[in-house]
């Protein structure tokens, strides 16, 4: 090290313990095997999040929530220099981030990286996915064009009725033992109204979603993300069962610095290029301003990552009309979600026993259901 650099390094080391970090970084390794490719996807998700924060801050410079939302987005898209590009990158990166997070989650699942001692990594990861989807849902409304308006309107109304139905069920059960809880019968509608700031989507809704999107969700997300990343450093990359089965002498690994870091950087560059190409070649459009008096446009649908739930709820509502269908929908979703979240406690130890195989089949089944219902959702749009 040059003498000046060395002086600065020593000054910092005395105060923040740089040596510890450098020693850790030098020792950090990444397992190398046929599934190493899937180790990149957490980092790629992180890249997209960073891009979202960056482009989001830029959009925040010109975006005005409330009554001027549409006009401010119109200006960004058509009047501010390169505003269309910043906005397009933000919209595309939102979708790519959720895609990357799904790939990350499923690869973690199939590599069984949720097993002891990484259960908290899995749980925090699920929380991050949930928050990412709320990011997407809240951000989608902010331009207040027709598509945004109706997607949000439908998105908040679809779960309201099933929630009311379940609330009603619980109210009846409580009523049978003498506890009055009539308010549960409208819990879904009331929650939706609270989220909306009214009985329909209006300027209060935009303002609420804006607050969520810009300060509340980022604060929560960053906290959990920090925890999630710290856990990954603490436990290192998990070995898939095929590597676990090998004796340690046969396992290969590469140093993180500089080897895997450079590979990570290359993957980030590819991801960035894909994003820029998509954003520039397929720029995000702005529809007509939201008008509560207009009927919903034909083929209205949510973004692709909500299509599965959308389609399943729609189908169940058609096959089992009324309260039955609604309750069935909620029960299936909640049961599936709980099973998915609790997988580390079912398939916990490093053995390829019955539980391990069942977990893998469950993962394949879930993946197939998600993909197929999403495709079905698009086909059913006509």
């Amino acid at each position: 090290m040059k003498p000046v650099v060395e002086k600065i390094y020593n000054w910092l080391d005395e105060r923040i313990g740089l040596n510890e970090l450098v020693e850790f970084a030098k020792k950090k390794t990444v397992p190398e095997h046929k599934h190493t490719f899937w180790y990149y996807w957490g980092g790629i998700s992180l890249l997209f999040f960073i891009i979202q924060a960056f482009t989001g801050a830029l959009l925040l410079i010109y975006y005005r929530p409330g009554t001027e939302a549409y006009e401010s987005v119109r200006q960004i898209t058509y009047e501010i220099q390169f505003g269309w590009l910043i906005r397009s990158i933000h919209s595309w990166a939102a979708n790519l981030m959720i895609l990357a997070v799904f790939i990350h989650m499923f690869s973690v699942f199939f590599m069984k990286a949720y097993r002891r001692p990484r259960e908290l990594g899995w749980l925090s990861g699920i929380a991050l996915l949930g928050i990412a989807m709320i990011f997407g849902f809240s951000g989608y409304l902010l331009p207040m064009d027709e598509l945004a308006y109706f997607a949000t309107k439908v998105g908040l109304e679809i779960p309201a009725a099933p929630a009311d139905a379940v609330g009603g069920l619980i109210a009846s059960a409580l009523g049978a033992v003498g506890i009055k809880a009539e308010w549960l019968k409208t819990i879904g509608t009331e929650l939706s109204s609270l989220i909306r700031g009214g009985v329909e989507v209006n300027e209060y809704t935009v303002q609420r979603f804006f607050t969520l999107h810009v300060i509340i969700l980022p604060a929560i997300f960053l906290g959990i993300l920090g925890f999630h990343l710290w856990l990954v450093q603490k436990h290192g990359n998990a070995l898939p069962p095929s590597e676990e089965a090998k004796p340690p002498s046969e396992r290969k690994s590469v140093p993180f610095f500089p080897n895997f870091f450079m590979r990570d950087l290359a993957m980030w560059l590819i991801a960035l290029n894909v994003l820029i190409l998509l954003a520039a070649m397929f720029p995000w459009d702005l529809g007509q301003p939201a008008d509560s008096l207009k009927p919903a446009p034909a083929g209205i649908h949510p973004e692709w990552y909500f299509m599965s739930s959308f389609q399943v709820l729609k189908a169940l509502g058609t096959w089992f009309p009324g309260v039955t269908g609604e309750i069935l929908g909620i029960v299936i979703f909640t049961a599936g979600l709980i099973l998915w979240i609790l997988i580390p406690f079912y398939d916990n130890t490093n053995q390829s026993g019955l539980r391990a195989r069942r977990a893998t089949w469950f993962g394949l089944f879930t993946l197939a259901v998600l993909v197929l219902t999403t495709i079905w959702g698009y086909l059913a749009l006509k």
């Binding site: 830029l58 009047e79 390169f82 910043i86």
Partner: protein, 164 residues
């Protein structure tokens, strides 16, 4: 291994070393150049994005002449503030019937000055600068320079203000 093989091995590794150094350097330069390209590619749109309102304001400020409609009806011994491009300005109809238009930005530290008809002066509240309302000259207080004058032309429709 034999003497011949040993020599060949040394020669090969030396040759590789001679190649390795320029290759390394080329790699570093290429990497650095690509990095700079990406920075420029990302930085340029962000700069233009942030600078858009500045460009717009400068265009608006490049105005050379404006018409103040109905301003010819301004009573003598009174003044009105208006915008010339991006700058505030005073139009003063003096008691003797003459007109003056002055830039309203105090030459001291940029506050907007006030026309006091009753005191027959232009006064800056911030630090007590005083200007002559007819010529714009800095009479008292900290202002180092006079207020800039505009050319005034009174018509039937209003008053035309232009750069002197």
């Amino acid at each position: 291994m034999g003497q011949q093989e040993k020599i060949e091995k040394i020669n090969t590794s030396q040759a590789e070393n001679h190649q390795a150094v320029p290759r390394r350097l080329f790699g570093k330069i290429a990497f650095g150049a690509a990095g700079l390209c990406y920075l420029a590619m990302i930085g340029y749109p962000i700069y233009r994005y942030l600078a858009t309102p500045v460009e717009k304001a400068k265009k608006e400020a490049a105005v050379k002449e404006i018409l103040l409609k109905d301003a010819h009806k301004l009573p003598p011994g009174s003044g009105m503030i208006f915008k010339f491009g991006s700058r505030p300005a005073w139009l003063i109809h003096h008691a003797d019937g003459s007109w003056t238009a002055l830039d309203a930005v105090c030459t001291h530290l940029g506050c907007t000055v006030k026309y006091e008809a009753q005191n027959k002066r232009i006064f800056c509240e911030c630090h007590g600068g005083v200007y002559d309302p007819v010529t714009g000259k800095n009479i008292a207080g900290p202002p180092p320079k006079p207020l800039r004058q505009y050319a005034v032309k009174v018509t039937d429709e209003g008053v035309v203000i232009s750069r002197a």
